[in-house]
């Protein structure tokens, strides 16, 4: 008792500050400091769903010497995209051979951001109506444009007004300023987040968000412009843009995607109005990629509306193969089968309208479809 601790121990939590990717493992470090000796410092780290311990449990008991600082690293596995609060870490201290106990003391909390990027999406460069040498937005291809790519030696065919006279004078050889070409390809991602069917982390919304992130990353890396419309949230639109910053902005918006609850009636009404005006808001030359479980009349009506206005539309079906009703009553199976038949019929009708429907299978999912859409877009059209 003569050596009993007199001051209270301190606890701090250091959460990872950078954005993580799904499936990534990361350390959260908890630091315990004590002015006097603590026999047992029991630390428990509270974690949100989908941020689970990787092997070792999230509780540890250590001894802390007088004036010591003990660091405990808890390895976490990020299983699902989203923005989550990590912590607090809770400390209970025991001293004087178990006779004295104090706590619980809580540390601060941290915010962990997990981006929905699990797999890399790769697609052929068959974009419908990608006007290669006109437009206002830069691409990564060299050509006639406004964004400077660098200075290179003159080659036959280069225009005289491109000659960089300063470099030419310094080096004694003709040099020209090369530029990136300007492209006008625009991709609009339409995410249907009104329903979340299946079980996380492989539900329809998970697949939709991951697919949207992967497609956006791919086309932005190619220098195209990408916009996003979340029809599950009223007025949630991201204007088309390009570049790394725009990708971060898109991912940031995707992190806040939530399914609608059945009682959000006013929100539903607002969404219906917004959805009705969507075809007019999408640029005529844009490729529209709609991602959703294709459940419900509104989704099919929207797709049909976009296709009828002459836009290039691709529907990505994100309904998981194992999705189904949870309760198993006498009529559940039959009702589900009828729903499936109705849905298949609607998909066939969509295909008749020229809207390809493909299930999301990761990299290369849209290759064949994009080629077909591109071919269809180049074909002569009959104006009525």
């Amino acid at each position: 008792m003569a050596r009993r601790p007199r001051g209270r121990p301190e606890i701090r939590l250091a959460a990872p500050t950078r954005a993580l990717l799904e499936g990534e493992r990361v350390d959260a470090v908890v630091t315990v400091t004590a002015a006097d000796r603590v026999d047992i410092a029991s630390v428990v780290l509270l974690t949100p769903a989908w941020l689970v311990p990787d092997g070792a449990p999230l509780a540890q008991a250590v001894a802390v010497g007088a004036g010591d600082e003990v660091e405990l690293a808890f390895r976490l596995h990020c299983q699902r995209w989203g923005r989550r609060q990590l912590g607090p870490a809770v400390l209970r201290a025991t001293g004087a051979h178990g006779m004295l106990r104090c706590g619980p003391y809580a540390s601060g909390v941290g915010l962990v951001t997990t981006w929905p990027l699990r797999e890399e999406f790769v697609a052929t460069d068959a974009l419908p109506r990608a006007a290669g040498l006109v437009g206002l937005h830069g691409s990564r291809r060299f050509g006639e444009g406004t964004d400077i790519a660098g200075v290179r030696p003159f080659t036959p065919g280069d225009r005289l007004h491109r000659v960089n006279w300063r470099v030419t004078q310094r080096t004694g050889r003709l040099h020209v300023t090369s530029t990136y070409s300007d492209r006008d390809a625009e991709v609009v991602l339409v995410l249907d987040s009104r329903q979340d069917l299946g079980r996380p982390p492989v539900s329809s919304l998970d697949t939709g968000v991951r697919a949207a992130a992967a497609i956006a990353e791919h086309y932005l890396r190619e220098g195209d412009r990408v916009g996003l419309v979340d029809i599950g949230q009223h007025l949630r639109r991201v204007r088309a843009g390009n570049g790394r910053t725009h990708l971060v902005h898109l991912l940031d918006v995707l992190l806040d995607v939530r399914p609608l609850h059945w009682y959000d009636l006013s929100e539903r009404a607002a969404i219906q109005l917004g959805t009705a005006s969507l075809p007019a808001a999408v640029p005529a030359g844009a490729l529209v990629v709609m991602l959703g479980p294709l459940a419900g009349e509104a989704a099919f009506r929207l797709l049909a509306g976009l296709a009828r206005t002459g836009r290039s539309v691709v529907a990505v079906d994100t309904l998981p193969a194992d999705a189904g009703p949870e309760s198993d009553t006498l009529w559940t199976g039959l009702a589900y089968r009828l729903w499936q038949l109705e849905r298949e019929g609607d998909i066939v009708q969509l295909r008749d309208l020229g809207v390809p429907v493909v299930p999301w299978r990761g990299a290369g999912s849209l290759d064949q479809v994009l080629r077909d859409v591109s071919r269809a877009a180049r074909a002569p059209r009959l104006r009525r």
């Binding site: 008792m1 047992i40 029991s42 509780a59 250590v62 025991t94």
Partner: protein, 189 residues
């Protein structure tokens, strides 16, 4: 299509929760709780001294508390086990001379049970325990047992005085004073 699962209610939920907790126990927690169970059972077995009618019943009543103490050592269950073992012992022998080996065994079992329960209560159920904590705990326990064993051996060599109720009461009071006075003084400080 997905619905939240119904949460099991009542006693069934409590049992399910305890079973789930046992599955998540790390190896060291499992070992310490096993030691608690063993030492508690040993104390409750030895304390009645083979007499089943009253001391044995007192010990038997404490068996659920022993199991509850293993599952949640930070509750009052370990104290019930200690009290039942001491009660059974007192009822069995009273002021008569108790066998030396059995006394030593009950005392050692109760000391280990108490110390292990304190360690388990000071840590979270799913907590890993660092080797330094185990070493310190084992050292303190070993020191306590060594001192008690030494005193017991010395008493055996010196020979025991004749049993007397006032002497035993005086011994109990002295023990309580020796333990309680420093604690009270320290808390005031």
């Amino acid at each position: 299509m997905t619905r939240p699962r119904r949460v099991a209610a009542g006693a069934g939920a409590a049992v399910t929760g305890q079973v789930r907790l046992l599955r998540r126990l790390p190896a060291e927690q499992f070992a310490f709780r096993g030691l608690m169970l063993l030492t508690g059972a040993a104390a409750l077995l030895i304390a009645p001294g083979g007499r089943l009618i009253l001391p044995g019943l007192v010990a038997l009543v404490a068996v659920p508390a022993l199991l509850a103490g293993v599952l949640s050592p930070d509750g009052g269950a370990p104290a019930v086990v200690l009290g039942a073992a001491a009660g059974a012992w007192t009822i069995r022998y009273g002021v008569a001379t108790a066998p030396f080996d059995a006394t030593l065994a009950v005392a050692a079992a109760l000391a280990v049970h108490h110390s292990t329960a304190a360690l388990c209560a000071a840590t979270a159920p799913t907590s890993r325990i660092e080797p330094s904590v185990v070493v310190r705990w084992a050292g303190q326990l070993a020191a306590g047992l060594a001192v008690a064993g030494g005193v017991a051996a010395m008493l055996r060599l010196l020979g025991r005085p004749a049993a007397s109720v006032p002497l035993e009461l005086a011994g109990v009071a002295a023990t309580v004073l020796v333990v309680a006075v420093p604690v009270v003084l320290a808390r005031r400080g």
